[in-house]
């Protein structure tokens, strides 16, 4: 086995583990966006991507993981909350677009939404 992964498995939980989970979620999100034809699926992919990013914020912002006794370690969490709010707003807008799209085409297949092609 690759020594790097071996280390991960043996070490106590730290930043690296969070980052790996975040990267996994991000990759899953991107793959979801790239492969799903259903617009709702794509929205889910977006959520995954955003939350993967949030994972990183929390990991790097955490007081314990950083071993920094002087900070409160809330900055990462605050930005994550911010991202969640933004994601909610974005989801609301996106769902409105999807609804309109559905009204016009009777489907939520994004491959059929190619009117903007050059």
């Amino acid at each position: 086995m690759n020594p790097m992964f071996a280390n991960l498995l043996t070490e106590p939980v730290g930043v690296s583990h969070y980052v790996v989970v975040g990267a996994f979620m991000f990759t899953c999100g991107v793959l979801c966006m790239a492969t799903k034809r259903n617009a709702l699926g794509i929205l889910m992919g977006i959520e995954l991507v955003l939350n993967g990013a949030n994972m990183n914020f929390i990991a790097f912002g955490s007081r314990y993981l950083r071993n920094d006794a002087n900070s409160l370690g809330l900055d990462g969490q605050l930005i994550s909350l911010f991202v969640i709010v933004l994601a909610a707003a974005e989801a609301a807008v996106a769902l409105a677009i999807v609804l309109n799209f559905y009204n016009n085409t009777d489907s939520v297949d994004v491959d059929r939404a190619d009117q903007l092609q050059g």
């Binding site: 492969t35 190619d114 009117q115």
Partner: protein
Amino acid sequence: MDPSWLPFLLATAWLVPLFSFVFILFVGKHLGPHGKNAGLVATSAIVFSGVCSFTALFAVWLPNHPVHDASHHGGDHHEAAHEDEGHAALAVPMKLVAAEGEHAESGHSADGHSAEAHHGEHANNGPEGYKAYTADWYELGVFGSLKLSISYYIDALTVGMFCMVSLIASCVHFYAMGYMHDELHDFTDPEVTLSNGENLKRPGRYYRFFQYLSLFCFSMFGIVIAGNIAMVFVFWELVGICSYFLIGFYIERKSASTAANKAFIVNRVGDFGMLIGLMALWSSLGTFAFGDMTGPDGETEKGMFSLLRTEENDYHLQPTEGMLLEGGRFGESATSESAAEGGETEESPNKAGWWLLLVAGVGIFCGCVGKSAQFPLHVWLPDAMEGPTPVSALVHSATMVAAGVYLVGRFFPVLSPEALLVVAYIGCITLFVAATIAITATDIKRVLAYSTVSQLGYMMLALGLGGWVAGMFHLITHAFFKSLLFMCSGSVIHGVHTNDMTEMGGLRKKMPITAYTMLIGCLAIIGAGIPIIGPGFSGYYSKDAIIEQAFSFGSANPTHWILQWAPVAGAFITAFYMFRLWFMTFAGEPRNKHRYDHAHESPRVMTAPLILLSVFAIGVGWSLPGTDLSVVNLLEQARPVGTQATTSGEILTALTVPDEHISHQPEFKIPAGWAAFLTASAGVLLATLIYLVQFGPRPAELKKAFQPIHGFLTNKWWFDELYDWIFVKPTKVISGCISWFDRGVIDFIIHSLAAISKGVSQVFAVLLDNKIVNGFVDTFAKGTWDTGVWLKRLQTGSLRQYVMFIAVGTILLFVAISFVQNI
């Protein structure tokens, strides 16, 4: 009143018509119905001018400068002169041209200039008795040594002319208020037929007529009061333009507009000569002013008259240093030759100076020839009768045309004997030619027009012969009786609605006032009076004075005998045609029954001026009972300094211009008086025989018998045709050639140039613009377009692909960065 009032009074008289002009110009249309009150405005303005002028004469001039009988000169001059000295002290800004009589007995310096040899015993050549006030009112500008200013020059002549002009102008204004009443409503011009066969109908122009009259009065006063020749020239042109407007008053008539143009153009010919004269005078004398001006700094600037007639030279005409210099430039070769010979060095430039003086004099006279309708340029005046009759009475007989004579009189001190001879010959030819044409004319106004030309010739002749007072006196008397005659003829035209005398006759019974006032005018113009002893009508005095001077001149210069006898012959013809006119119009049987029945006497506003003027036509030559006050004596006061002496020519040494006072001696007075009386009587008798008592051959038979002469005269000596052949036709031919040159050559060159530039620009368009400039821009645009089209393929519109692009792009970016960092 103090003499310092003179400029103020005369300036008021001068400017009031200007205000009237401006007022009518702006609001004339709204002065009462059809501008009726404009006539009142203009008339009251000129009457006010008249009051000012007569106040200036009787309340200012005469108390300060009492007139003396011209026939005896004595010590009383000194008294008068000393009296004036006191007034001169009061009039601080004014300069008395007269040097206060000290030089009266200054004798003749004996260093013998040739002119002085002829200085007669009778001559009082000094300035005693002569007074002139002159100063600048306003300086228009100084350009180097050229000074242009509004100035005044007031002597007895100025004051007299102001009175004459304002009096006649007032009469004419009153008369015109009646005569022009047709213009008070929409006017149908019977002489203008439109293309649809109807007569022209236009709104009345009553107010405009008075507007022009006011402008004319202002300009005429301006000429008279002007203190320098440049100002005279300005007002000279102003009266010219007024004359143009007034001749062309019925502008819709072709004949009127042509006549106006003719008058204007012919006058320009004369004015060209006048400009040459002005240049000659100014370049050699360096001043335009007539008299000596005292500036505010107390320095005296010498005027033309005193420069040319210096005190040192006993007021004899003498070219100045500047003239000798200028003259020397022209005669340079001659001077150098004579310098080589020695001795004659002074003579040659001196002669040249006299030539320059002659050029200047004749040049100024050219302007007068145009304005006063003298011989070569007389053709415009008869045509000018197209204007309304009041205009003929005021502008074209009494005042404006007399301005030429006035200017010769004013310039008299500058004219050399040779220039005077030119004046005399022109006047002589004019008086004879015009008088002969008047014999055959049948248009009542044209007869009077030629009579005017002829009388102006008389005045010029008198001035040219040295009879200054005779000429100016005739100017004044003629103004009265000729304006009377014109207004009578206007009254006739107003009554019978035609100018043609062959349709009149017997009108005496229908319009008695017009008939008898006109008879007075005729008697005045022929100079009726008891020979030698008088009394007589005004013309008797002035015409006899001219003929006396002609006799005096003739005896001094036997070679110029024609100048002696032409006025006598003229007197005969004048008497004949004037009485022909009167008999044809007022006596005998009516030739046109219809017109006779409709004839009527004119309204009182027209006959009253006739009566007033006829009083003046009779009495203006008389002296006021119990005093020495008369026009002659007033004019004698105005005789220019130094022009009384007998002088002889410098170029034509045989020429002698005699002292005017010699002509009053019995040896000339008696034969001249009898000659004038007998010829005039013969003329009247002949007219009576032919036209009244119908004795001898009838006019029609005479016409047949003298067909060639009659044709020659009715065609006005073929002058119009001659000028048409000499000037108009060649001008048209030349302008035709030039027009061809313009179109054929100049236009061809320009068109070729245009074609060449067009071709060249086309080449440039193809080569430079299309190929290079457009090519570059097009290529650039195409490249951009192609890039865009190629890049368009990336925009698939598929969301999933975009995500792929983003992911792959990010990965590639990381790969690239890791490569770069590893290096």
